[in-house]
Amino acid sequence: MAVDFAHWGGPIVRGCGIDQPSGYALLHAAGFTTAGDAHDGAAFICRVGNQAFHDGIVYPTSSEDPCTVTPSTSAYWSYWLAPAGQNSWTYSPVGPMGDVPKPGEVELWTFGATDIGGTGGSGVPRFPPSTLRAANAAPPTHTTPTRSTTPTRSTTPTRSTNPIPSATTRATTTTTATRAVSAPVRRMRTAHRSAAERRVASERRQPRRPARKRPAAPAPDRRRHGAAGSAPVVAAQPTSERTSSGSAGPLVIGLCLALALAAGAVWTMWRRRRYE
């Protein structure tokens, strides 16, 4: 699995885990620290950090997002899956607690915006899963990247996903791949604008489609595009420090204050009753 810190100009931090019960456990097993938001609990991942990027600071920082309520769809960690043998991203239909990672699957967390169906926006990954797969960890089924599993009218140029040559070449593969895809798209959009729009509309109705077939989405952010394309993939590091359980002092002080006030209230009530 991997986490893309490109939103903050950081690398793609990659880790892995075996036989994890959930995507959440996998994230933690790989050494990432996460924080939920106050409204939804720890299961809704609001912040992610790793020792390999800025000494484990969790992003977004509290000045960017207080993580009190559910983050909006314009800036949140989105969750992408690519099962073994599939060279395109699928917007996860379940949360990290509900997902069970399978051998050979790649899971990616990106930060940014997506639309409700998870088909467009700055949070859609701009590089194929092959960039992240380890060469020796490829499962036996990974001989040829399979074409799209959904039976569609494959007339648009984007459908011809020419397989990425090597699964584990340098990170620059991503840039070339993305360019190769986006060039025909631009042509297509000018030629068959209405057809393209219809296609986007139909894709919105099918949120489980692989993300890679959607370069027709709104113009990508140049800075982020470049960052994602040339971002180095670095290995995740385990968390170095254990979080302490804090001290019981504030708890005692707070409870004492509350008890004093409550005792005052009870005393007043008792006096009122006596004098009535």
């Binding site: 609990g41 720890a42 509900g98 302490s244 708890l251 509350a258 209230a265 009122r272």
Partner: protein, 398 residues
């Protein structure tokens, strides 16, 4: 001499400071205080701050509530808060969110497997201490907010609060006051009829008893409403005033358009994905239109105030206490904002941020700033109160 008798019988030392004249605080001051606390509580899930806010509410209500029926309602709000916490814990335990590594499992419920397409929701399974704690705190927050409203209801006289309605809504407020007065009057009527029945011989039971109570009570209510109608008529209620048809139409149009604007603005604000133009500008435009409509409609209603509630220093202090709490917790500066929403996974003690704690404690100053409540002496309403040579106003008058 009379003063001496009263000071022994009807006044509680401590609550009834002999130097201060008992009077009711302006109801709007209590509402501002309570709503300030609601805003403050809404910002935090820190259990210490929430418990502190709850005890502040209890302290102020115990010190400054009157003996009116609505003033005894605070304990029911506390029960509602307890119920909310319990319900939240039950739902958290049944619909579990899954375990994290290092969670402390309390007990395990039978797990019901859900199909793959329904994988977002789990039913049953292990219940962890961390999840239960976070559910408790979440429920505690909602419960505390409800108790804030309950405290305002217990402290402020609802009938006098309705007086501050804008002139255009005056008749609506009047109808609400009459209907609020109905329930206590009915109870009093039933009690009177029952007492009269007990004094007479020949107790009847069952359906016949119901008839012998219901008919006098209904007759009583009818008589009372005829009297009220006559009294209101003689005071000039129900007159239309100098409003023309055109102004009435303009008022209605302004109010309707304003309401539509406010609704659209609220939707835009809460939805987030809609156009930005819909949110704040629409709310502002709607508010302006509504105020214009209310002002125009209010022009035709001329009101006189019989003994208006004064707004003096205690009112400023009480309202200010609530606002200080709200502002301190809303603008998270001067302390670590993360302390307001502590995380329970991994399990750790919550911190007590000093500034928010002090801000919430300041709200307790309302118990001392507000004047002592007027107390009913020897059970009757409207007995002249000798203190300060003032005449006690009946608590039920609107």
């Amino acid at each position: 001499m009379r003063h001496a008798t009263l000071s022994v019988r009807g006044r509680v030392p401590g609550i009834h400071d002999s130097r201060r004249v008992p009077r009711a605080l302006h109801p709007v001051a209590w509402w501002i205080w309570a709503l300030g606390l609601v805003i403050a509580v809404n910002r935090t899930t820190n259990p210490l701050l929430l418990i502190l806010a709850l005890s502040v509410l209890g302290f102020v209500v115990a010190n400054r509530r009157t003996d009116a029926p609505w003033a005894r309602a605070f304990k029911y709000y506390l029960m509602v808060a307890l119920f909310i916490i319990a319900a939240r814990i039950v739902f958290q335990s049944v619909f579990t969110a899954g375990l994290e590594s290092g969670d402390h499992v309390l007990f395990e419920l039978p797990h019901i497997r859900t199909p793959r397409w329904y994988a977002g929701v789990q039913i049953g399974g292990p219940v962890s201490l961390e999840a239960t704690l976070s559910a408790t705190v979440d429920g505690l927050r909602l419960g505390t907010m409800i108790c804030c409203i309950g405290a305002a209801n217990a402290l402020a006289n609802p009938k006098r609060a309705l007086r501050v309605l804008p002139g255009a809504l005056y008749e609506l407020g009047m109808a609400v006051v009459v209907s609020i007065s109905l329930a206590p009057q009915l109870i009093e009527s039933v009690q009177r009829v029952a007492r009269a029945r007990r004094l007479r011989a020949g107790q009847r039971r069952g359906f016949r008893a119901l008839r012998s109570i219901a008919i006098p009570v209904l007759a009583d209510a009818l008589e009372r409403s005829v009297l009220l109608a006559a009294a209101m008529d003689s005071r000039g209620y129900g007159r239309t005033g100098p409003a023309t048809r055109a102004t009435r139409r303009l008022t209605a149009t302004l109010l309707l358009a304003g309401m539509v604007g406010v609704c659209a603005g609220c939707y835009g604000l809460l939805n987030g994905s809609g156009p930005r133009l819909l949110a704040t500008p629409a709310i502002l435009a709607g508010a302006v239109l509504c105020s214009a409509g209310l002002a125009l409609g209010g022009r035709r209603v001329r009101r006189t105030h019989y003994r208006p509630d004064p707004w003096r220093a205690p009112e400023w202090i009480v309202a200010g206490c609530g606002l200080i709490s709200a502002v301190t917790l809303y603008f998270t500066s001067g302390y670590n904002a993360a302390d307001l929403n502590p995380s329970f996974s991994p399990l750790r003690f919550p911190a007590l941020p000093a500034l928010p704690a002090v801000a919430i404690l300041i709200a307790a100053a309302a118990a001392f700033a507000a004047p002592p409540p007027r107390r009913r002496v020897s059970g009757s309403v409207g007995v002249p109160d000798a203190a300060g040579g003032r005449i006690a106003r009946p608590e039920v008058s609107a």
